[in-house]
């Protein structure tokens, strides 16, 4: 019998703890597929962050370090500077990267650290129970914006790609989404490309993946996919913000 589908080698045989309808699992798989396809499993070191993906190191077959909240790009810097011929990636949520860890991501990008950053943006704090994230949309209700996010009271949602692309050390900056087969295929190519950019030593590569959080959004998985498309995409447009010519 011909095998048409299997678990990527870089993904461990572990039941993930993610909620139904959450797209962390999809993105994990895309990262693992990219690692498989590039044949870098034995020389890749991941850095997990604090948030729902804190246990990411359980789900990958490569070496991993678990970083303090927001500090994954600094930890990745430490690893990469010691082992420049290895592949180092961080996997961070929006609270980790876009709130507590803004200094670390901006300066890792500014230094042009040759690392890959997978940035999951689901516009909410998942693990702590649905509080406002820096990427929470205006009007969006969370446990700490019970009346909806107000610009003049809570501030505006932050657009990371638009900010990081301005930094000279950032080589590849793109925003993709995990809500449809088509978008997932695009996301897969982007993640693979991000690793290739690192392998060529071109600078920091960052892939922002718009993701869902049905549990804390209070929606069904299907409604969540729709909400992502209708609410998030207008504020967080998809596409490549910066791309080196060297990698297709």
């Amino acid at each position: 019998m011909k095998q048409v589908f299997k678990r990527p080698q870089a993904l461990s045989d572990t039941v993930m703890h993610y909620c139904p309808g959450c797209t962390h699992g999809i993105v994990h798989r895309l990262v693992a597929e990219a690692i498989d396809e590039l044949g870098i499993l034995d020389r890749t070191i991941g850095v997990a962050s604090v948030g729902c993906s804190v246990l990411a190191y359980e789900y990958f077959e490569c070496d991993f370090q678990e970083a303090a909240h927001g500090r994954a790009p600094a930890v990745a810097t430490g690893i990469k500077r010691v082992l420049p011929d290895r592949v180092v990636f961080t996997y961070q949520g929006d609270g980790d990267l876009a709130s507590i860890g803004t200094a670390e991501i901006i300066h890792a990008a500014t230094r042009g650290e040759k690392i890959t950053v997978i940035f999951i943006n689901n516009a909410i704090y998942g693990m702590t129970g649905g509080q406002m994230a820096p990427t929470t949309l205006l009007g969006q209700k969370t446990t700490t914006t019970p009346r909806g996010r107000l610009a003049e009271y809570h501030g505006q949602p932050i657009r990371i790609c638009e900010m990081i692309k301005e930094l000279d050390g950032a080589a590849y900056v793109t925003r993709v989404a995990s809500n449809s087969p088509r978008n997932i295929a695009v996301a897969k190519r982007a993640i693979r490309k991000a690793f290739q950019v690192q392998l060529l030593g071109l600078g920091l590569s960052l892939v922002e993946v718009l993701s869902t959080c049905p549990t804390n959004w209070g929606l069904t998985p299907v409604e969540s996919m729709k909400w992502l498309e209708e609410k998030m995409m207008p504020h967080y447009p998809l596409g490549e913000f910066k791309s080196p010519g060297e990698v297709k």
Binding site: I45, Y57, Q65, A74, T77, I79
Partner: protein, 355 residues
């Protein structure tokens, strides 16, 4: 083997000693009075194939150390009091993940932004954990540039042996002053094998560096293992200097820069016929309790610190009421004057003084 005698600033001497002890990675952030240390590293590390990164903050720097230590490197950072406070979260993670590294704190007066003059008011922070959770660093309190240089390779070695962060607790004077110093030759350091390091699986087992234990019993197991390790360190790694302790009317206890000043005061006291002794802790954690255990003929203790009284608590614990323990301290960056210490010694030798 020792080289020629050099006149070097403490900050620079520690940096060179670290390089000669095989350190090739440094991550830091500027703060007075330790800037010559990262500056020296910035100049020197590239010459020996090493890497210096000026991080965006102390917070980032200590987490770079975490990544580098986890990747198996002999790595260090340095800072001064407020910067060390910022590093505490990362230090707790390093201790929990059992990652070896060296942290240098050239203490300055606090609390808050404080001042930039020498102080010893981070003793509690350094020896009692400092960040969250139950942990200890191996902490050294050198009294001279030479001793700082001699302790640097030892600090790295013990950090590796016990898989535990080590700290050199200096101060503004030790960092800024120049003294004659003999450095060892460049050591051909063979780091102990670090099978646990995340260097890429390379076909073997995969490794994870983490301090997350969602299962309480698993986290308790980690804590028990750490505590067993700390007991072992307390048993085997206490270091101190004792001078004329038996028969002393007043035994002084001081470390670092203060111990130097105390030695001057002791000379003055001897000229007046007062019998004085000294216990100078070299490891601040583990605290050298053994130095106190077999004492018999001692009048009383006087602890001198550049703080409001921190190490004195450890002295009182170990003395445990057998003798009176008095304290004299200066704060804010003021260095005690030998004559003022002499005045306290006189008072105590006459049987006076208050606790």
């Amino acid at each position: 083997m020792l080289g020629e005698l050099l006149l070097m600033k403490g900050n620079e001497a520690v940096a060179e000693a670290a390089i000669r002890a095989g350190c090739r990675h440094f991550f830091g952030y500027p703060i007075t009075p330790q800037n010559e240390l990262p500056e020296y590293m910035a100049r020197r590390l590239p010459e020996v194939g090493g890497v210096f990164v000026q991080a965006e903050s102390e917070v980032a720097a200590i987490n770079m150390v975490y990544g580098a230590a986890g990747a198996g490197a002999r790595v260090m950072t340095s800072s001064s009091s407020p910067g060390i406070s910022l590093k505490q979260e990362g230090i707790s993670y390093l201790a929990a993940s059992e990652l070896p590294c060296l942290i240098v704190n050239m203490m300055r007066g606090g609390p808050g932004l404080g001042g930039i003059q020498p102080a010893q008011s981070d003793y509690f922070q350094a020896t009692k954990g400092g960040g969250h959770g139950d942990y200890h660093l191996i902490v050294f309190g050198p009294e001279s540039v030479q001793e700082m240089v001699d302790l640097t390779p030892l600090a790295f070695d013990l950090a590796d042996r016990y898989r535990n962060p080590a700290m050199i607790l200096g101060d503004g004077i030790l960092g800024q002053m120049m003294e004659p110093v003999e450095l060892s030759e460049m050591l051909d350091v063979q780091l102990p094998p670090k099978e646990w390091a995340t260097t890429g699986r390379s076909g073997g087992r995969r490794h994870v560096v983490s301090s997350l234990y969602l299962d309480s019993s698993e986290l308790e197991k980690l804590n028990k293992r750490l505590q067993d390790k700390y007991l072992e360190i307390m048993r085997t790694e206490q270091r101190w200097e004792s001078l004329d302790v038996e028969g002393a009317e007043v035994v002084l206890v001081a470390y670092g820069t203060t111990a130097r000043v105390v030695k001057s005061a002791m000379n003055l006291a001897r000229e007046e016929g007062i019998r004085v002794g000294l216990i100078r802790p070299i490891t601040l954690w583990p605290f050298p309790t053994k130095a106190f255990e077999s004492l018999e003929d001692v009048g009383r203790f006087l602890v001198v610190e550049m703080s409001s009284g921190q190490m004195v608590e450890d002295v009182r614990l170990v003395v445990n009421g057998r003798w009176p323990v008095s304290f004299y301290g200066r704060t804010g960056g003021v260095v005690p004057d030998p004559k003022d210490i002499l005045a306290r010694i006189r008072e105590l030798a006459r049987g006076g003084g208050t606790r």
